[in-house]
């Protein structure tokens, strides 16, 4: 099993996301994360899908997705030639004693504190998945109350 990141450019038609996710579920392909958003041309939507599978399954995924009428383009975003970013919001329990510790961990990771309450705070972190995983592991010692991750968006480097 290997992980692959696919970048799709699709026609911004009604139901396009459900057509794509439906294809994955009915053919038994896994979706680790999926993100979608408008592009510079409002007719198109950019979708980034992280999926897992054997080589032949990944090849089938690429072909089956390419076959969908709404899909203009699908390509693999290879780690060495792409930029991936994910946004993560983490709500952590924090008291006066623990707050400074959290601040310094956040600073090391260049995370932002976006909300502070008497007994909790929310940290915003952007990065690739491994950075976010590492950060979550670190703040594990403080009590994590909630996590919201977006899944990655990605672009290939260069032209």
């Amino acid at each position: 099993m290997q992980k692959k990141v696919f970048q799709l450019l699709v026609d911004n038609n009604a139901g396009v996301l459900s057509r794509i996710s439906g294809l994955f579920s009915r053919r038994g392909y896994s979706i680790e994360s999926i993100t979608a958003g408008a592009t510079e041309d409002p007719n198109y939507t950019r979708i980034t899908i992280v999926t897992l599978g054997d080589e032949d399954v990944l090849e089938q995924i690429e072909k089956q997705v390419a076959k969908l009428v709404d899909v203009r383009d699908i390509r693999e975003l290879k780690p060495e030639s792409s930029v991936y970013r994910e946004l993560c919001l983490i709500k952590v329990r924090s008291t006066q004693e623990t707050r400074q510790g959290l601040f310094s961990v956040a600073e090391v990771f260049r995370a932002k504190i976006v909300d502070v309450n008497v007994d909790s705070l929310i940290i915003e972190l952007t990065g690739d998945q491994s950075k976010i995983d590492a950060f979550i592991a670190l703040v594990q010692d403080y009590e994590i109350l909630e996590i919201a991750r977006t899944g990655i968006a990605g672009l290939g480097r260069g032209l």
């Binding site: 009604a14 139901g15 459900s18 090849e59 089938q60 072909k63 009428v69 709404d70 899909v71 203009r72």
Partner: protein
């Protein structure tokens, strides 16, 4: 003009002559408008058969079949027909009525999310949201259905859109689908590679699938095979790509196919698959067919190539184009020994049957029927033991062999035969089904009589769901569970009389030929019942 008039106009401009369907309130504006058109409406007796009939017509004419039904249950009843067409890549445009746009999602009477429900077995689907989109959507739907790998497209039209005023109707001359551009022309480098392999090959074989018929590449295939003396086998969907008795044809492959066809595949050193999926019933061990041989896989759908086996030479494109490109190549190949070997297999590796003389032997009967049929007749096989016998013993000359191959939908033959006959009234059309599959669509006898569609129906009657009984015989040691249909099956003679359909019964082979001749004598609807051995195996 209203939306419904525009829908009918679009169909006229697409050259549609027949719409199969069943009305209901949500599609009534359309069925009101269609009365002003020359398009004929065939009223089927259940919606599933509207799709099958459209499929039969599409397969005979090479055009897109059209059906139109109402919302809710009308639309959901259509689903099996759509899935059947999808599995065999048959081009259909299926129109469904939908409840008022503003009520969608509120679970009102006869509302069903049909675009959602059919998503996994349509090539594409549309829910029309604006009346002015109708011409574009219809144009695109016919284009998508009939190009690349063909298939069904669904258009769901809410009743308020059908009733909305429409000004300035203009049908687009071409489609502009930024995201849909199927590859038709084969890559020249790959074509050259295939020719090189053919020059080297000692034991080449072409395996023809349904794609050869769908892309109208039959003549090119035959010419290519004959010119270079390359043996051809076929999948079930590819039956008819070569005449059965052609010297270069070596039968249907697969677990229900001819032993010599499978042997040809196994012993070959070069297999050229054309328009075939390498599906489970045709190739039981796809990973083995690439062992010690070169596999060329030609398909218009790139996703089929490499799905079940990794070909040595993938070649994406339309079978007709690629066959034409092959024909333009000058080369020679030499493998007379191989042909001699296959000819020997074809004679010696014939399945021996021991039919009970008290019954009609389906194998001998089907061959006899083929001999008596017109040479360009359309033979529609249903699903079950009858299908396997039909594949094995029907002799295709210049006609067509239609069946539900991918989905294996029982009840396909009668409605598909109706559509095939409507598609070409000059052709003799014969549906061959079992007593199980007959009862799945016998309501269509009413359609046949109402619309005067002279198809011939043969029921091979063994009082069992024979294919399942056979499976239970081998797998569950004759513990026959829920397969006995003897007690409920109606007297077919009386049933035929009720519909005013002439009836013939054949009890054994002694007078079979005379009865077949009587059955085929006139271009009329007739029903023939053949009593076959309930314990017979395919």
């Amino acid at each position: 003009m209203i939306g419904a008039d525009a829908m009918v106009k679009c169909l006229e401009l697409e050259g549609v002559t027949t719409v199969y369907g069943y009305p209901g309130v949500a599609i009534c504006p359309f069925y009101n408008s269609i009365t002003d058109s020359d398009i004929q409406s065939i009223l089927v007796r259940t919606e599933q058969n509207a799709a099958h009939a459209a499929s039969g017509e599409a397969r005979v004419t090479g055009k897109v079949g059209v059906c139109a039904v109402t919302s809710g249950p009308g639309a959901t009843n259509l689903i099996t027909g759509i899935a059947t067409a999808f599995a065999d890549s048959i081009p259909l445009v299926c129109i469904t009525g939908q409840v008022n746009s503003e009520l969608i999602g509120s679970d009102v009477f006869q509302e069903a999310d049909i675009t959602g429900a059919v998503e996994s077995f349509v090539k594409y689907s549309y829910l029309v949201k604006k009346v002015e989109d109708i011409p574009r959507i219809f144009k695109e739907a016919f284009h998508i259905a009939s190009t690349g790998r063909k298939g069904p497209v669904l258009i769901d039209v809410p009743i308020d859109i059908q009733n909305a005023n429409f000004k300035n109707f203009k049908y687009p001359e071409s489609v502009s689908l930024r995201t849909y551009k199927p590859t038709v022309k084969g890559n020249f480098v790959q074509i050259k590679k295939v020719i090189k392999e053919l020059e080297k090959a000692k034991r080449p074989v072409i395996c023809a699938g349904g794609g050869v018929l769908l892309s109208d590449a039959v003549e090119e295939l035959r010419e290519f095979s004959h010119r270079h003396r390359i043996p051809v086998v076929s999948t079930m969907m590819g039956i008819g790509a070569m005449p059965t008795l052609d010297e270069m044809y070596f039968g249907m492959v697969g677990n229900n196919g001819k032993a010599y066809a499978n042997r040809a595949m196994n012993e070959s050193d070069l297999i050229i698959m054309v328009g075939a999926r390498v599906a489970d019933r045709a190739i039981s061990q796809p990973d083995l067919i690439t062992e010690n041989k070169v596999l060329v896989h030609i398909d218009v759908d790139p996703a089929e190539i490499g799905k079940n086996c990794g070909p040595s030479i993938p070649l994406v494109g339309d079978a007709k184009h690629i066959m034409q490109d092959f024909l333009e190549q000058e080369f020679s190949c030499e493998h007379e020994d191989w042909i001699k070997t296959l000819e020997e297999y074809r004679v010696t590796m014939v399945k021996q049957r021991t039919p009970d003389e008290n019954y009609v032997d389906p194998a001998a009967f089907i061959t006899m029927l083929s001999e008596e049929m017109q040479s360009d007749a359309v033979y529609v096989a249903d699903v079950g033991q009858n299908q396997i016998w039909s594949c094995g013993y029907h002799i295709v000359k210049d006609g067509r062999f239609l069946t539900s191959g991918g989905m294996g939908t029982m009840g396909y033959s009668i409605p598909a035969a109706m559509g095939a006959k409507r598609g070409d009234m000059s052709k003799q059309v014969i549906a061959v089904c079992g007593d199980g599959s007959f009862q799945m669509s016998m309501m269509e006898l009413a359609t046949i009589m109402q619309h005067d569609i002279p198809v011939k129906i043969i029921v091979l009657k063994n009082n069992y769901l024979g294919m399942v009984r056979q499976y239970q015989h081998f797998t569950y040691k004759d513990n026959y569970s829920v397969v006995d249909i003897k007690d409920g099956t109606p007297d077919l003679e009386k049933l035929s009389a009720a519909y005013n359909i002439p009836f013939i019964r054949v009890e054994n082979m002694t007078d079979a030929r005379a009865k077949i001749q009587e059955f085929l004598a006139k271009d009329n609807t007739m029903l023939m019942e053949c009593l076959i051995d309930p314990m017979d195996l395919v």
